[in-house]
Symmetry: C2
Subunit: 351 residues, 2 copies
């Protein structure tokens, strides 16, 4: 047999092999049984040191790696976690999602998992879950859009499908599944305090409609911070759609009617609207009026004076999610828990 020099330090022979080496191939080469090779891979402690070395050498020489399908079949586990990409919402939320996905993929890798993306077609939030679950394609799911009043959670629980949620179970207090979330209220509270410390006293809020749990949560941080200092919130809050235009309109009205010196917004998108209004009126963000957004999106980083924004610790969220996943899939599964992480404030020119 001719040898191919492996440049990357990896398997030498597998490069041109017709089909990948199997356990049996390794076993034959090492002069042991299949089971021994399997043990060398999964339970090295069981082998005599001498044998282990011999087997490992054979593995190295052949460039053996266990066939995933076979292993999955036997162990009834795929080491894949499913993540559903919500339907096209080319908005701010997407940007955060992107960061989260990156972190998640990264963290999962360390834990021996891979992330399988799937998409729901229509508005049906269950779309896609069913097939993957029934075909045992994934070990667990990661559910992200819990603001929907999470029908997924209910559905998945009924099917006894393991899953971890990024987002609190807003509706039911006695949800049984593990979840991780970012304390939005703490974020806006931090943002508001930051402005208070800068001397602002009339700080306005622009958020989402009242039926948004997340929106109301973030709003509560703002009002809490103000009341803490004995300041009133009346007339200083506005609830609108999450668009630049809405943010602009709302801030225009607020400026006219309540003369705030600063704005805290439920999203960077809304904050962009505020910046636009300020520009139209010849006001300078950061100098004349302070503005704080939420999510620390790309936009916040590149817009003119820089937009101060609440940043979600998505890397930590990912780590916590994966940890919860491991607890969940481990034997025996640990009890489900919720974890609330605190965001940080990225200060830029707008404040």
């Amino acid at each position: 047999m001719s040898r191919v020099s492996g440049s990357s330090g990896h398997a030498a022979q597998s490069a041109h092999a017709g089909s990948p080496p199997t356990l049996a191939n390794v076993a034959e080469r090492a002069g042991v049984s299949r089971q021994t090779v399997s043990n060398a891979v999964n339970n090295p402690d069981l082998l005599r040191a001498e044998t282990l070395v011999r087997v490992q050498q054979a593995i190295e020489e052949l460039g053996y790696l266990p066939n995933r399908a076979a292993r999955n079949l036997r162990t009834r586990a795929s080491h894949l976690v499913g993540l559903r990409l919500s339907p096209v919402q080319e908005g701010t939320a997407n940007a955060a999602m992107d960061r989260f996905v990156h972190s998640l993929v990264w963290t999962s890798r360390e834990a021996g998992y891979h992330v399988l993306l799937f998409s729901g077609e229509g508005p049906d939030p269950l779309e896609g879950y069913d097939d993957l679950l029934r075909s045992t394609a994934v070990d667990a799911f990661i559910v992200t859009d819990t603001y929907l009043g999470n029908p997924q959670a209910t559905w998945l629980r009924e099917r006894r499908a393991p899953f971890v949620a990024f987002g609190r179970p807003w509706g039911d207090a006695d949800a049984q599944h593990p979840w991780v979330d970012v304390d939005g209220a703490a974020g806006t509270e931090m943002a508001t305090r930051h402005l208070l410390d800068k001397g602002h006293e009339r700080i306005a809020w622009i958020g989402w409609r009242k039926d948004s749990r997340i929106g109301e949560d973030r709003r509560s941080g703002w009002s809490r911070a103000l009341r803490e200092r004995g300041l009133s919130t009346t007339g200083l809050a506005s609830r609108v759609e999450d668009t630049v235009w809405s943010g602009g309109e709302a801030s225009a009205v607020l400026l006219d009617e309540a003369q705030p010196t600063a704005f805290v917004c439920a999203s960077d998108t809304l904050a962009m609207g505020v910046l636009r209004t300020l520009a139209e009126r010849g006001l300078h963000p950061g100098r004349d009026i302070a503005v704080v957004g939420f999510d620390d999106s790309q936009v916040a980083q590149v817009v003119h004076p820089g937009l101060t924004s609440v940043r979600q610790p998505l890397e930590e969220v990912a780590i916590a999610v994966v940890r919860a996943l491991e607890d969940l899939l481990g034997a025996p599964p640990k009890v489900a828990e919720g974890l609330l992480l605190t965001p940080t404030l990225t200060v830029r020119g707008s404040s």
Copy 2:
């Protein structure tokens, strides 16, 4: 056996079953052999109509779906495609990537594939490919960062791993793999013509360093459009890093030295720098000076007067990539081809 009423119109019994139903279960219930059930699923034509109905009914009643691992093992295919997320480059490129991933997941679903994400740890562009390939976890890869002089392409070809590239094989003309790319030059040419049609004659270019193939390609579209109208390009081009600051600096210098009335940029990030400079000088984008970016990112949509930008048809790219994938994995595999798509121009306030 008690019946559970299935609310979603799906499997009735599987909801509370300990383990999912198998082929054998269905076969028993339908009074046929395993193989017949298998045929009912994969080759319905082989069955007598009557039998087919009976089997399908049993499948429906049990909520049967083939076990993925077993099928993968037997057919030596996973119906998964691997997509590597590049190391954290929290920049503009990311945003485009995000849109692409969405489209890809969506399109893959239709073709019966799922997208498996993985991440390379360090700068090594091969990181992660090897394991997935050797363990036969994915059927093919989708390679996106071909600007690296694609060592992946070379490596994957050596291993005979099927893959489709999003991005031209810039280096070697005789690359054997299928690829899909967006004609950046056509995009900037379109953008430049758009400005020419608006009456601009001194149109500047701000792009990336000369060693960027993509950057030079985009630049060529600009210069082609100018020369076409007999206009000179000398002194009107600048090549810098892809940062807001660089874009700002470059535009400041160009404004001083060449008095352009419009800017075409290789990225939205650079365009944002131009907008900043204009703001500092009290110039109004779209009225005094026109600006066009590239990628039609989130930023372009929300920034003040709106940033005109070249938009890549990523949905079409995804479709083409998946089609190429199907050709590649089909039997017999079709010949590899390259496909160049044309971007569009999203016109906004900045021009």
